[in-house]
């Protein structure tokens, strides 16, 4: 056998770790939980569709107007996917990128190889992105075909918006995953911190006028969602009037890109310098 002395570089090493991790991630208990989570919106959509077919008058109304399938899809996309599923996935997968290997005590095999530790994090991050996208994107497409036909407009009218929604989901998964990968690499109770950020801090600051909302991921994702959100209450209308105009799509993409790259870099730095002591 020939001795190998050439040291692999960051990206090829990350791709090797990606290969090694994707299968493990796809068949993990966490992915089963994700599949169940994604079943929720689909079940809800199926019920709405059934109700619309059985009794069109049963459809919800906003400001006296019966909402159509595309509007309903837009609301479900924003409230269930962007504001709930994507942050949940970011928290549970992102914080566990390295922690899972540490808990399983398999990290030794990766860290004993002549690759930068950052490559392990990066490879597992890519695997997370592929795994979650593979599960979430088909679910959204299914949701679209269940909900969009409700009402007068046809399925085709919403396809461009659907494409934009799919891209938004990937961008959201990338940003939240990177952010929580950093949280996972830095703090002791990353899941708690992640959940507080996603479901305490973000909805909290988004409600109020001011610039704190720029310190959230959701604020930039909001600008990417192509659907106009109907206001369901007078208070909501007043709040919307007080809010400054959302950032442009280009500015939002740039901000989300910056969040992703910066937090991934910080996470990689933390993993490089941190010592992982395995429990006996």
């Amino acid at each position: 056998m020939a001795s190998v002395t050439r040291r692999p570089t960051l990206l090829p090493s990350a791709l090797r770790v990606f290969d090694l991790s994707l299968g493990q991630m796809l068949w993990s208990r966490r992915s089963l939980f994700l599949a169940l989570l994604l079943g929720g919106p689909l079940l809800l959509a199926a019920l709405v569709r059934f109700a619309a077919v059985a009794d069109p008058a049963a459809l919800p109304r906003i400001n006296g107007q019966r909402i159509g399938g595309l509007t309903l899809f837009g609301m479900m996309m924003w409230l269930l996917y962007i504001r709930f599923i994507v942050p949940v996935l970011g928290v549970f997968y992102g914080t566990a990128l390295i922690a899972d290997e540490v808990d399983d005590r398999t990290i030794t095999y990766l860290f004993a190889r002549p690759i930068p530790r950052a490559a392990v994090l990066l490879g597992k991050y890519f695997a997370y992105l592929a795994c979650t996208s593979l599960l979430v994107l088909p679910s959204l497409v299914l949701l679209y075909f269940l909900v969009a036909p409700i009402g007068e407009r046809g399925i085709g009218a919403g396809v461009p918006a659907l494409m934009a929604d799919l891209a938004t989901l990937v961008v959201g998964l990338a940003a939240y995953g990177a952010l929580f990968a950093w949280v996972g690499a830095r703090v002791k109770r990353p899941v708690v911190v992640g959940l507080v950020f996603a479901f305490g801090w973000e909805p909290g600051v988004l409600l109020f006028p001011g610039y704190l909302k720029q310190l959230t991921v959701a604020y930039y994702l909001q600008a990417l969602v192509p659907h106009s959100m109907p206001s369901v209450s007078p208070v909501g209308s007043i709040m919307q009037m007080l809010q400054p105009a959302p950032p442009s799509v280009a500015a939002s993409l740039a901000a989300l890109g910056a969040i992703t790259v910066l937090t991934l870099w910080l996470a990689a730095r933390a993993v490089e310098s941190r010592e992982y002591v395995l429990e006996p």
């Binding site: 056998m1 020939a2 001795s3 190998v4 002395t5 050439r6 040291r7 692999p8 090829p12 090493s13 090797r16 770790v17 290969d19 090694l20 299968g23 493990q24 068949w27 399983d104 005590r105 398999t106 030794t108 095999y109 990766l110 860290f111 004993a112 190889r113 002549p114 690759i115 930068p116 530790r117 490089e272 310098s273 010592e275 992982y276 002591v277 395995l278």
Partner: protein, 304 residues
């Protein structure tokens, strides 16, 4: 020297893992002998760059090892923990890890198959690791350590849980590596295992190196203490009957599907046990382990 530690200490919070250790490991095979919790695994993790020294320094091939992954290509590490990617087959797992050394996919698979063949696991290479027995899991772990043909092998309790035949074969393999000019640091809490591989031993206890070099005197001390062996086998009663006739067997006890034997002559006992396992005359012997109570007693005596 291949490995050199200078006043090396490692603490886990308030717990001392390794305490002011200065040592030099030459080429060839060196045994690291000590009871559980002595600091063997901590030392091995420091040598492989898994842990950062709290104090002092450690160099491997003349270079500091912590955060120096370029050196890791020259090291093969077989850790103690029984942890794997259970859904992968043996060859997939070993090839994937060898691939991280910068080897292309095809070459990595060929190297993995060669390594699995060396540890006598080629026939089971395409089975999922989750379906492997304890001994097979030890061997696949060994295969990933040696597949990239490293100059330095760090083996943490590599024989734990192996059946006598695999144990004998692995010991022979380790001795061959030593003869081929490689450096091997192998840990165990069983002197007889270490002694069958090398006479160059580091004695470690409570985080300190007690002695290094040839340890025949220690061996004499250990022989004065009864040695306990736990054997998991299909035919424990037949084994017990056979051992009753052996000199030096002090007691026999049945535990679930295992036989626990206490012997005053461990060398003769292991030779007989290996012969029985190889012949299969008394059924299959699945696993042989030895608790470290006897070694612990000797170390307590030494440090008094």
């Amino acid at each position: 020297m291949i490995i050199a530690a200078d006043h090396l200490s490692k603490w886990y919070g308030q717990v001392i893992g390794l305490n002011d250790v200065t040592l030099a490991v030459p080429p060839g095979i060196t045994g690291l002998l000590g009871p559980n919790g002595a600091g063997k695994s901590t030392l091995m993790k420091l040598i492989t760059g898994q842990l950062r020294p709290s104090q002092g320094s450690i160099t491997v091939f003349g270079e500091p090892i912590w955060r120096n992954p370029a050196s890791y290509a020259r090291i093969g590490f077989c850790p103690e923990q029984d942890a794997f990617y259970e859904r992968m087959t043996g060859v997939e797992w070993v090839a994937a890890l060898v691939g991280l050394n910068g080897v292309d996919e095809e070459a990595a698979r060929a190297m993995a198959m060669r390594a699995l063949d060396l540890v006598d696991l080629a026939g089971e290479a395409r089975k999922k690791i989750g379906a492997y027995s304890k001994g097979m899991r030890q061997r696949v772990k060994l295969a990933q350590a040696l597949a990239h043909d490293p100059e330095l092998l760090i083996l943490d309790e590599p024989l734990a849980g192996m059946d006598p035949v695999a144990r004998r074969r692995t010991i022979r393999l380790i001795r061959e590596w030593g003869r081929a000019g490689r450096t091997v640091l192998v840990s165990s809490h069983i002197l007889h295992e270490i002694e069958s591989m090398t006479s160059n031993v580091l004695l470690i206890h409570q985080g300190r190196i007690l002695a290094e070099g040839n340890v025949h005197q220690i061996r004499d001390l250990i022989d004065e203490h009864p040695h306990t062996v736990y054997i998991r086998a299909d035919e424990t009663r037949a084994l017990a009957r056979a051992f009753l006739a052996e000199d030096g067997v002090l007691s026999l006890k049945f535990e679930d599907q295992a036989l626990v034997v206490q012997t005053a002559r461990p060398d003769a006992f292991y030779t007989r046990l290996t012969a029985m396992a190889a012949s299969g005359e008394l059924g299959t012997i699945h696993e042989v382990t030895s608790p470290d109570d006897n070694l612990q007693a000797v170390f307590q005596y030494l440090v008094k």
